[in-house]
Amino acid sequence: MKSKTDHANPFAGDSTGIQKRETAARWALRAGSYLVVLTTAAIMLHIFVKGAPVVFRSEWPFVNTQFLTELPSQLHVIEDKQGRRYETGVNGADAIKKELGENYRSEKTIAYSGGGILGPIVGTALLVIVSVSVALFLGVACAIYLSEYAKHGKFLELIRLAILNLAGVPSVVFGLFGLGAFVLTAPVFVDVPADRSVLAIPLGFTTLSFEGWDTCVLSGGFTLAFVILPVIITASEQCLQAVPQGFRETSMALGATRWQTIRYSVLPFATPGILTSSILGIARAAGETAPIMFTAALAFKDKLPWQKDLPPLPADASVFAQWEQSLQRFLGIFTESVQALPYHIYTLAAKIPQNEYSERAQYGSVFVFLVLVAALATVSIWMRIHLRKKYRW
C-alpha cells in the first residue's frame, strides 16, 4: 500500500504493519466480546458464593430445608449479656427470653428475613402456570394464523406491527394495564354488583358485573400472559415456518383439508420446538416484577394459597357439599393475592433496613431464583440445539 519501489517478496507481508494491525484489532474485538462473558460469569459467581451457603449445608441433608419449605416470617435476634445471639421466629422469641431471664440484653426484629421462601416460590409457580397457559393458547393460535392462513395484506401487516409494538411496551405499563383491565374492570359473576362496576348485566340468577377480579393470581397471570405473548408468538411462528413446505403440499395433495394438514402434518413437527421456546417464556414470566406489583403480589402472607379458612362442613355433609368445598378451595388458589419471588426480592432489597440478617435472606432468595431461571434457560437452549440436530430436513 505504501511504497512502489519495494522489490521484496510480495507475499512476505508485515512490512507495512498490516498484519500487526489485523492481529491487534482482532484481539481488541475479542477482548470486547469476552468482557460481556466475564461480567456475566462474575455476577453469577458473586451470587453463588454469597447465596450457596444460605441454601446448602455442610452436613446431611446438605440443603437448608427450612429455607426451602417454610413461609417467610419475621426474624427475631435476641442477644444475651455474654454477647451470644439466638435467632428465632415469632413463636420462639418469648420462650428464649423467658429462658434467658436476667441474662437477656436486647432484641432485634428483622421483617421478612426469617423462615424460608416457600410462599414466594409457590406464588411464582402459580403465576407462571396461569400466564403460560393463556399465552401459549393465544400465541400458538396466532402463530398458526400468521404462518398457515394469513395472506399478504393490510390485516397481516397490522398484526405484525402490533406484535412488534407489544414487545416494546415497558413492563410497568403492562402493570398499569393489568390494574385497569383485570383488577378493576374484568367481568365476574356476582349477586350484587359493587359500586365501582363499569357495567352490570343482570342474567336472572346472577349478575355479570364488570368490576374486576381484584389483586389475585388470575389478574397477575393474565397481565404476565400479555407480557410474554410477543415472545411466544415469534418463537412459535419460527417453529411452524421451519416445517418444510413439502409436508403441507403432500398432505394437501392427498386431499386433506387445511385444518387436517395443520393438525397432522405441521403441528406434530412444530410442537417440540414451540414447547422449547415457551420455556424461555416461562423464565421471562417468572422474572417480571413490575407487571405483578399492582395486580397480584403481596409483600407478606402467612398462609399458602390453598390454606384457606373455610367454614367446617357438618359431619353429615353430602358428597356434593364436599365437592363444592373442594372446588371452592381450588378456585380460591387463583382468586387470592400471593407472594412472588421477584417481588419478595424487591421487598427484601428496598423496603427493609439492610443488615447481615436481611442480606442472608436476600442472597438466599436471589440464589434460588436464579438457579430456577438458569435451569429453565439452560434446558431451553440445550433442547433447541438438540432439536436442531434431530429435525434436520
Binding site: 460481556v36 393460535a141 398458526i144 416494546g168 405499563v173 398499569l176 405473548l229 432489597a349
Partner: protein, 645 residues
C-alpha cells in the same frame, strides 16, 4: 399393507369429505377454524388498543382534576405566597454556600485542633463501647433498690476497670497525639466510670484549644464572618411575615376543599336518590344531601386580607434586598484557601440574580389577580414542563414530570453509550472472527443474560456495583475524573451500567442478524479486490449492515427506557432535576425515573385521586415513547434499506 384395502379408501374419504359437506349453522367448518385463528391473531392488536383505552380512561381526568387543584391553589392565595416564598428559597442555598465558605476559610487554621479533638472523642466512644457490658452491669447495680452490698459493687467496679483498662490498651491511637499525650489519655480512658459525669480532662483541654483556635480564625476573617451572619439573618422578618400569610392561605385552602368535598358528596347523594326506587330511602338520601352543605367560603374576603398586606410584604422585601446587598458588598475578596474562594465566587455570582428575583417578586405581587382563571393550556404546561414533582405535601402537590424525564433520559443515554460499542464489537467478533467453539460459548452466554430477571440485576446494583463504584471513586489517582469521589452509592451511572448490561442481548442479537444479512457477494467482491479481513469487515460488512445495527441500538434504547426494577432499586430515587452545572460528573447524582415513580407510588395512592391520575398520565407518556422508539427503529431500518437498493 393389504392390497385389497387400498381401492376402498378413497370411497370412505369421499363419503366423509366430498359428498356430505358438513356445515355448522350454515358456515363451512374450515372457514370457522380460519376465523378462530384469525381472531386469536388479532389479540395483539386488541391488547394494544386496550392498553391505550385503559391508560386513557384512568389518566385523562388528570387534566380537569389538576386544573381544579391549581384553581384552588390560586384562589386560596397559596400562589400569592409562593410568589415570594419561591425566590426566597434561593436564600438558603446561598446562605449555606457562604457558611461552607466560612468553614473552608477557617479550615487551615483550626484543622489540627479540630482533628485532635474529634479523634479524642472517637477514641472515648470506642473505649466506652468496648467496656459497655461491664458498664451497663454497674449502672444497673447502682440504680437497684435497695442498693446491693458494697463488696458486690466493688467487684463490678473492678470488672469495669479491668475492661476499661484493656479497652484503652487495645485502642489504636492516631499519630495526632504525641507519646506523652497518648499515655495521659490512656490513663484517663482507663479511669472512666459511670460516676464520672465530666469529660476526661484531656478532652476538655483539647476542646478549649479548639475554641481558642476557632476564635482566632474568626477574628482573622472577621469581614467574611460578619457578612455571612448578616446575610443569614437578613430575611428573618420577611420569613416571619411569609409564614404568617402561608398559614392563612393554608386555612383558606382547607375550608375550600372541605366545602368542595361536601358539595361532591351532596351531588352523589342526590344522584343516588334519583336512581333508587324505594321512596323511604329516597327521602332519607335527599335529607342527607340537604345536610351535606358546607358553609359558603368567602374566598374574596380571605384573599383580600392577603393582598391587603402586599405593601407590607414589599417593604420587607425591600429591607431584605438592601441588607442582602450590603452583605454582598462587604464580602472580602481574599479568603485564603482556593476551596473557600470557589465557594465565595459561587455565592457572589448567585447573589445579584437572587436580589433581582426578589425585586421581580415584589412587582409580581401587584399584578397577581385572584380571579384569573387557570387555562387548560397552563395545566398541560404544568405537567409537561413542570420542574417539580411534589406529592403528599401539606402545602400543595405539583405534578411536573421534567425531573422524571431527565432522570430516565440521562440513565438511558448512559446505558446506550456503554452498551452500543460493547454489543456491536461482540456482534462483529462473533459473526466474523470467532471460531465455532467460541461462538458456542459467547452466544448462549449472551442469550442467558436475557433470562436474568431485572430485579436480580437491581439487587446486584445495590449490593455489589454500588460499593464497587464508590470504592473506585475514592482511589487517589482517579480523582481527575469529574464527579469523583462520589457521594451516593445509588446513582444514575450505577443504574446506567446495569441497564447497559441488560441491553446487550437485544443489541447483540439484532446487530448480529444485520451482519448475517449482508449479501455474500459483497464479501466475496471485497476479498477478490485483495482487501484484508479487517478492511472487509469495517469498510464493507459493517457499512452494509449499519441500518440493522442502528435499529438494534434504537430497540435497545426502547428496552432501557422502559425498564423498571433496576432503576427503581438503583437510581437513588431523588426527585429533582440533576444539577447539570456539575459537568459530566452529573452522572454520579441520584435521580428518579418515569418507570420508577409509577412502580413506587402507585401502590400507595387511592384510586381516582389526582396523584393516581398523574401516574397514569406518566404511563401514557411512557407508552407513547415506546411506540415512537419502535417506529423510529423501523423507519431507520427501512430508510437505509431503500437507499441500498
Amino acid at each position: 399393507m393389504d392390497s385389497s384395502d387400498l381401492p376402498r379408501r378413497p370411497e370412505l374419504r369421499n363419503l366423509i369429505i366430498r359428498n356430505r359437506k358438513r356445515t355448522i349453522l350454515g358456515f363451512d367448518p374450515q372457514q370457522i377454524i380460519k376465523y378462530f385463528f384469525g381472531a386469536n391473531a388479532s389479540t395483539a392488536v386488541i391488547v394494544l388498543v386496550l392498553i391505550m383505552i385503559f391508560l386513557v380512561r384512568e389518566g385523562v381526568d388528570f387534566l380537569p382534576t389538576n386544573r381544579h387543584e391549581l384553581q384552588t391553589y390560586r384562589q386560596a392565595g397559596l400562589e400569592f405566597c409562593d410568589l415570594v416564598d419561591r425566590p426566597l428559597r434561593e436564600h438558603q442555598t446561598l446562605s449555606s454556600s457562604l457558611r461552607q465558605c466560612v468553614s473552608a476559610a477557617l479550615e487551615p487554621i483550626v484543622k489540627d485542633a479540630r482533628e485532635r479533638r474529634n479523634a479524642a472523642f472517637l477514641l472515648k466512644t470506642q473505649a466506652e463501647e468496648k467496656a459497655a457490658r461491664q458498664r451497663e452491669a454497674l449502672e444497673n447495680a447502682l440504680e437497684r433498690e435497695p442498693p446491693p452490698a458494697e463488696d458486690q459493687l466493688a467487684a463490678l467496679r473492678k470488672d469495669l476497670q479491668t475492661a476499661a483498662a484493656a479497652a484503652s490498651q487495645a485502642l489504636i491511637y492516631p499519630s495526632l497525639f504525641t507519646a506523652e499525650e497518648t499515655a495521659l489519655f490512656k490513663a484517663q480512658l482507663a479511669a472512666l466510670s459511670p460516676e464520672l459525669t465530666d469529660l476526661p480532662p484531656f478532652i476538655q483541654a483539647l476542646s478549649a484549644e479548639f475554641m481558642t483556635q476557632d476564635r482566632a480564625a474568626r477574628e482573622k476573617y472577621a469581614d467574611l464572618v460578619t457578612a455571612q451572619e448578616e446575610f443569614d439573618e437578613a430575611p428573618d422578618d420577611l420569613h416571619e411575615l411569609v409564614d404568617e400569610l402561608k398559614e392563612q392561605a393554608l386555612g383558606a385552602k382547607q375550608s375550600v376543599e372541605e366545602s368542595h368535598a361536601l358539595a361532591v358528596n351532596r351531588q352523589q347523594l342526590l344522584e343516588a336518590a334519583e336512581t333508587t326506587a324505594d321512596p323511604d330511602e329516597k327521602a332519607s338520601l335527599i335529607k342527607e344531601a340537604e345536610a351535606s352543605v358546607g358553609e359558603e367560603v368567602d374566598l374574596t374576603a380571605l384573599t383580600k386580607e392577603l393582598t391587603a398586606r402586599t405593601g407590607e410584604l414589599q417593604t420587607q422585601i425591600a429591607a431584605y434586598v438592601e441588607s442582602a446587598e450590603k452583605a454582598a458588598a462587604s464580602l472580602p475578596d481574599d479568603v485564603g484557601t482556593p476551596d473557600a474562594a470557589a465557594l465565595l465566587q459561587k455565592a457572589k455570582k448567585g447573589l445579584p440574580a437572587h436580589v433581582q428575583d426578589m425585586r421581580e417578586a415584589a412587582t409580581a405581587l401587584e399584578s397577581w389577580r385572584v380571579d384569573k382563571p387557570v387555562s387548560m393550556l397552563r395545566v398541560i404546561g404544568a405537567f409537561f414542563f413542570g420542574t417539580e414533582w411534589i406529592t403528599n405535601s401539606s402545602w400543595q402537590d405539583f405534578f411536573g414530570f421534567v425531573p422524571l424525564l431527565t432522570g430516565s433520559v440521562v440513565i438511558a443515554l448512559i446505558a446506550v453509550f456503554i452498551a452500543t460499542p460493547i454489543s456491536v464489537i461482540a456482534a462483529i467478533y462473533t459473526n466474523q472472527f470467532a471460531t465455532d467453539r467460541e461462538k458456542e460459548l459467547i452466544k448462549p452466554v449472551i442469550e442467558f443474560i436475557q433470562a436474568i430477571p431485572s430485579v436480580v440485576l437491581g439487587f446486584i446494583g445495590i449490593s455489589l456495583v454500588g460499593d464497587l463504584i464508590k470504592e473506585f471513586s475514592e482511589v487517589s489517582w482517579l480523582q481527575w475524573i469529574p464527579g469523583f469521589p462520589i457521594q451516593e452509592r445509588l446513582n444514575m451511572f450505577n443504574a446506567g451500567c446495569l441497564l447497559a448490561f441488560m441491553a446487550v442481548p437485544t443489541m447483540f442479537s439484532l446487530s448480529e442478524d444485520a451482519l448475517n444479512n449482508v449479501p455474500r457477494g459483497y464479501i466475496d467482491a471485497s476479498d477478490a479486490l485483495g482487501a484484508t479481513k479487517l478492511q472487509t469487515v469495517f469498510r464493507v460488512i459493517v457499512p452494509a449492515g449499519i441500518s440493522g445495527i442502528l435499529s438494534a441500538v434504537l430497540l435497545g434504547l426502547g428496552r432501557v427506557i422502559g425498564e423498571t426494577m433496576v432503576v427503581l432499586l438503583v437510581a437513588g430515587n431523588r426527585i429533582a432535576i440533576p444539577d447539570f452545572s456539575a459537568g459530566p460528573g452529573v452522572v454520579f447524582q441520584p435521580a428518579h425515573t418515569l418507570t420508577g415513580i409509577i412502580a413506587q407510588e402507585l401502590g400507595e395512592v387511592s384510586r381516582g385521586s389526582s396523584h393516581w391520575q398523574a401516574l397514569f398520565m406518566v404511563g401514557i407518556v411512557l407508552f407513547t415513547i415506546s411506540l415512537l422508539v419502535n417506529w423510529c427503529a423501523r423507519a431507520v431500518a427501512r430508510r437505509f434499506e431503500s437507499q441500498k437498493a
